[in-house]
Symmetry: C2
Subunit: 321 residues, 2 copies
DNA sequence: CTGTTAGCGCATTCAA
DNA sequence: TTGAATGCGCTAACAG
């Protein structure tokens, strides 16, 4: 059984293909209810699904929305976010598809252009030149990374690690072949909060995700002997920092306070239990879906049903602060 | 500047569209070198990229290979695998795209059919009925999950946790809304290895990824008082088991031995350092690419350059066995 | 041997 | 409501 075409539907319904197309695309106000019904039934009976190729051909672009995911560890947070985003954009007839942005960005834009997507959601992975290329190619480009949200997360980090009083402030970034996407914003947020409290901007340490490397990276800071307050890029980095503290014989949270971001399961399973920040992605998503709808001049998606009362960020106190 | 079409190329090269098509699709043996060159130059100059829509229209299916990723935590292992897979299949003109399979599979197949992909790589997420649906729709369906590899991982788990001598064997599975995809095979492998050693099949415990839940799940087994050997679905579950052991006051590895799978960074950062199994995905990938090529009757991809000497699985001893 | 003509596949939209 | 044209690439059949 091969796929039914709009011609099949038209034949079965006893109308022309143009009529089918009009009705199926919301331009059917001028047709009688009876015609609507005939078409609806033919569609049903034939299990008709419009060919994306045909549609893409005439529209000049496909129905795809490519979510360009950074090459970095991502937990269920992002996965949930994508899931919900798919549901959102489905309401405006688009399909979300994920591309993992490898460490070598060369070729990524080529690949994207080959896809002829309607839009690209970029989590800060593309260099400016590539972004321009896409835009001039008529692809709607949406910034999925929220500067604001990450800066706020950075502020919360400062608040958390300074809960036991003022100490030397540090930001632990990810040292890795992967790009550190949200890092700069989180650091900026930490620094801003520090400034508000009359403190100097935190030093920045790149921490590798292995015990020996982490110990080496933090050695100079531990050497000073003063108590430290370390805000971390995410929970994984925080765990690396805890490992380094153990290696150097520092007690947590007495001599070193540590906080991460993401509220990962492991962070809550280890001892001491990690102080962390939970990011609720649904806010971000509402915005993204709306941006998409605007950019594509599609009808705006129905407003999110989820109550907007839950805060986007929440501090989850643990045993490391 | 709008996208160039094959007609533009033909015009610039001073040949017909058919000639362009023939040459660009390897059917150009009968054309002179000069013609080849003219076309090549026109393509170059116009930055011509064949329209995926046009191609899909005539072929009946798109160039997409959809990797259906299970709704479960996945680390960089899988990400690397996808990355390499993309490179592999690019050589046969296909593009890999990822779909996160949400916890609600309903609608997933519909979405897949809407994409009209050339192939779907399924990591054991689709129920049999859906697989049939896809197959009859002409989509090449490839099993990406390797039963063999996961069973071998299970065997290695048994070996690892029994290193300190025979004890009560246990398999800790993931308890979660997400599907536990590799679990059954890993359990089977553990049981097989146990049988080879004349031991009974291990009990199966579903362990949630939070401290309290994990403690409750393992309580009955700890209560027996005998030493335990616990093979875990992955590193995360192993960390949950370690947490439960702490809660119940059991020492690791004296009273409880634990091993995970994945060799995640956090597993190596915590104390005690986790015994784990590293899975090298490149083997699996070579097979997958070949399967794809066969299924699509495309020219086989060039044999992988990576030396096939590295073992697919490697036991990384830690401090938990 | 070298290359072209003509028509297909599918949905959309303008003009009638 | 509909016929006809459009967008793009592929290929069987055919001509020089």
């Amino acid at each position: 059984m091969t796929e039914a075409t709009s011609a099949d539907v038209a034949r079965l319904a006893g109308v022309s293909r143009a009529t089918v197309s009009h009705i199926l695309n919301g331009r059917g106000q001028r047709f009688t209810a009876a015609t609507h019904e005939k078409v609806r039934r033919a569609v049903e009976e034939l299990h008709y699904r419009p060919s994306p190729a045909g549609r893409a051909l005439v529209r000049g672009r496909s129905d795809l929305v490519v979510a360009l995911i950074p090459y970095t560890t991502f937990g269920t947070n992002l996965q949930d976010a994508i899931d919900r985003l798919s549901a959102e954009v489905a309401t405006i007839g688009l399909k979300v598809v994920v591309r993992l942005a490898g460490p070598d960005l060369t070729g990524t834009v080529e690949a994207l252009l080959d896809l002829r997507p309607a839009a690209v959601l970029d989590w800060d992975t593309l260099p400016a030149a590539d972004r321009d290329t896409l835009r001039t190619a008529g692809v709607a480009l949406i910034d999925a990374a929220s500067t604001r949200l990450n800066q706020d997360a950075g502020r919360l980090l400062t608040v958390a690690v300074l809960a036991r009083g003022p100490r030397t402030l540090l930001y632990a970034a990810l040292l890795d072949t992967r790009s550190d996407i949200f890092g700069p914003d989180r650091y900026a947020g930490m620094a801003a909060e520090a400034a508000d409290r009359g403190l100097p901007a935190p030093d920045l340490v790149a921490v590798p995700l292995d015990p020996a490397g982490a110990a080496v990276a933090l050695q100079p800071h531990f050497a000073a002997g003063t108590p430290l307050a370390i805000g971390c890029y995410n929970d994984e980095v925080a765990i690396a920092v805890l490992s380094a503290a153990r290696t150097h014989g520092r007690t947590v949270p007495a001599e070193v306070t540590v906080a991460g971001v993401d509220h990962t399961p492991v962070g809550q399973l280890i001892t001491p239990r990690l102080t962390t920040i939970r990011v609720d992605s649904s806010h971000l998503l509402g915005t993204t879906a709306r941006l998409l709808a605007d950019a594509l001049q599609a009808p705006a998606p129905s407003p999110p049903v989820t109550a907007p009362t839950q805060p986007a960020l929440r501090l989850i106190p643990g045993e490391t602060t």
